[in-house]
């Protein structure tokens, strides 16, 4: 069975199809909203909010005794919201810094949630709520109805982002300037944070409260590496989120009882590492390559300058010199530089092994020296000689 057949087989499977749809919708939503969380430096707020959702789930179950995901997720959203408000309140009214406030809220809410889960498990009715699936997610339990809820959240959240595109962009870049222009910054902030809460809630059943913040941050962080445009970044984050969702579902349905949620998160993380390393311009590998090339160019220009100065001593800028002499002046590595220079046609190699400047090389070295030392022009006498040599050509 080839890989394509395998995919066809997987997606003809009803459960995989449902779970896959849920994972994609979840990935797109959290990817898009994660961009705003990332750009507004609220990545950790997302983590605190997703952990804070746990007691909300438990309380919703205790109050309604229903496993209906719409009820449970409503409770989760409410608690996540209260958690976010808690962080804002602790930061605003105490002298604690935001990181400490996040830590406090996260652990208090999460701990309370775990206590409630234990209480629920000991209930005599033993309704077997299976709420612990919300800890790390259990995608296999997604029903079509759940996917419907996630889909509704996705439509709402993405619609809001499209509608308020310019407002959210301004809020994220320069909130004070938004306020100066009369936009209600507090309201916009509340709306955007609520959308992040919705994105978190959409992923709770698939990925769980513990890992959900990764789905918020990873696609956005990966997308940031590839582009300098907000619109492209949002689209890429959506694609990365969806890809992680699909990847996780496919991998976990292939492997023996691999948990879907964590596998999705691993896929998202791989996208981040790949992007951090290999993205053009911002990627580490790219930056290394650029730095190395720059280093080589500077080294080559130094060799070129030596040739120029040696030539000036002979009164002829094109006077060829043995490679040995250059190596003594510049050090090892001169051979590589000469190859580079020859490739640019800045030096010519004579059959006897000596090397000399070309016309282009002379122009390049003069240009380089002017930029390198704008204050100190080359000594007048050798410059004049060089000019003379040039004229004699």
């Amino acid at each position: 069975m080839g890989p394509l057949d395998l995919l066809v087989f997987l997606f003809s499977d009803h459960t995989v199809r449902t779970v896959g749809a849920g994972a994609v919708l979840m990935g797109v939503t959290s990817g898009v909203l994660g961009v705003y969380a990332l750009l507004r430096r609220q990545s950790l707020l997302g983590d605190a909010m997703s952990h804070a959702a746990l007691p909300g789930l438990a309380l919703a179950f205790l109050l309604t005794r229903s496993k209906e995901s719409a009820f449970l997720l409503f409770g989760a959203a409410l608690a996540a919201w209260v958690g976010a408000l808690g962080v804002i309140a602790v930061t605003g009214y105490t002298r604690l810094k935001p990181d400490a406030a996040l830590g406090i809220i996260l652990s208090v809410f999460f701990g309370f949630g775990l206590v409630l889960l234990t209480v629920i498990q000991r209930l005599p009715t033993a309704a077997q709520a299976g709420l612990d699936k919300f800890l790390f997610g259990q995608a296999a339990t997604l029903l079509q109805r759940d996917v419907g809820v996630i889909g509704a959240i996705a439509v709402l959240a993405l619609g809001a982002v499209v509608l308020g595109w310019k407002e959210f962009k301004l809020l994220s870049f320069d909130p004070a300037f938004a306020a100066v222009q009369g936009f209600p910054v507090r309201l916009l902030d509340v709306v955007l944070t609520s959308l992040v809460v919705l994105a978190i809630v959409a992923g709770l059943q698939t990925v769980g409260v513990v890992l959900m913040s990764a789905m918020l941050i990873a696609p956005a962080a990966a997308a940031r590496q590839w582009t300098d445009r907000l619109s492209t970044m949002v689209l890429l984050a959506a694609v990365f989120g969806a890809a992680a969702g699909i990847g996780g579902v496919v991998l976990s349905s292939l492997g023996d009882s691999l948990p879907t949620g964590p596998t999705i998160v691993v896929c998202a993380s791989l996208l981040v590492y790949g992007s951090l390393l290999f993205a053009p311009h911002r990627g580490l590998v790219w930056q290394r390559l650029v730095a190395a090339r720059r280093q080589r160019t500077v080294q080559a220009l130094r060799v070129l300058a030596q040739l120029y100065w040696l030539g000036a001593q002979h009164g002829d800028p094109f006077y060829p010199h043995p490679v040995r002499a250059l190596r003594a002046l510049v050090g090892p590595g001169v051979e590589g530089s000469l190859q580079e220079l020859a490739a640019r046609n800045w030096v010519r190699r004579l059959p006897d092994g000596r090397v000399g400047l070309t016309e282009e090389g002379l122009a390049a070295v003069r240009d380089f020296l002017r930029q390198a030392e704008p204050e100190a022009p080359a000594p007048a006498s050798s410059e004049a000689k060089a000019q003379g040599g040039e004229a004699g050509q």
Partner: protein, 252 residues
């Protein structure tokens, strides 16, 4: 009926303004009247409340007491008439956007809710970039700008706001001489067009040359008026910790 507000003589009228962060007063009982059409410097030592004063005028900080009026109206009623150039360090310049995009943000208030900028906003933004000498950099990523270029982008963004009153927070901070000249020229052309420009300024040497009106501020208003009248040795001493200066005078 009163005349439409831009014709009124006072562009900004600040009365009894007090602003406090926690229990520390940043501005104390400040009265300032800025006539329309002046180019005014706000000078004072660090922590004198200069930025806070601008933010209070803009309605970004809530005063503990006092009122601010722009052409006789509260700021909420006349937002379109006020342009703002914040300190360029106040935003994250690694934000994924271009110079042109940032300048067009100055039109968002005019566009109102949900309407996207179009060809008209683009043209206005390009004209403003031309005015600050940054037209060629319109499509540049903002992360690749120097400090002086960032400052000029913010200036262009304020220009497209097409305001009557401009508030600028240290627009000359960290810019080279050439950029300073370019920014000054923009300010002067604004004044020539009858606009009022208020500038938080640090270089006392250039106050006389650049500005025609000055506010000396150190939590309290020390003096405010035409540069020739109030920019005096005595007022400066009061503004910049008069006591230490007085001690030195006694010793010598």
């Amino acid at each position: 009926m009163t005349a439409p507000f831009p014709q009124q003589a006072l562009a900004i009228e600040i009365a009894d303004l007090t602003v406090a962060y926690r229990d520390r007063p940043v501005l104390w009982d400040v009265d300032v009247q800025v006539p329309a059409g002046v180019l005014m410097a706000v000078v004072g030592p660090n922590g004198a409340g200069k930025t806070t004063l601008l933010k209070a005028v803009l309605g970004l900080v809530r005063p503990a007491a006092g009122t601010v009026r722009i052409f006789g109206q509260p700021i909420k009623a006349v937002r379109r008439l006020v342009g703002y150039v914040p300190q360029h360090r106040e935003v994250d310049w690694d934000f994924p956007t271009s110079v042109l995009d940032v300048v067009m943000m100055g039109r968002y208030g005019h566009l109102g809710w949900f309407r996207r900028p179009g060809a008209r906003e683009r043209a206005l933004a390009l004209a403003a970039l031309e005015q600050v000498g940054m037209r060629e950099l319109a499509n540049r990523q903002i992360s690749q700008l120097s400090g002086g270029q960032q400052q000029r982008v913010f200036l262009a963004r304020a220009l497209v706001q097409d305001a009557q009153v401009y508030l600028m927070d240290e627009p000359f901070a960290g810019v080279d001489a050439l950029t300073e000249r370019a920014i000054l020229n923009v300010m002067r052309s604004l004044r020539a067009a009858g606009k009022t420009v208020v500038v938080v300024h640090h270089d006392l040497q250039t106050v006389r040359e650049y500005f025609d009106w000055v506010l000396l501020l150190n939590v309290r208003r020390i003096a405010c008026g035409p540069v020739a009248e109030v920019f005096t040795e005595e007022n400066l001493r009061q503004t910049y910790g008069g006591r230490s200066v007085a001690l030195e005078v006694k010793r010598s």
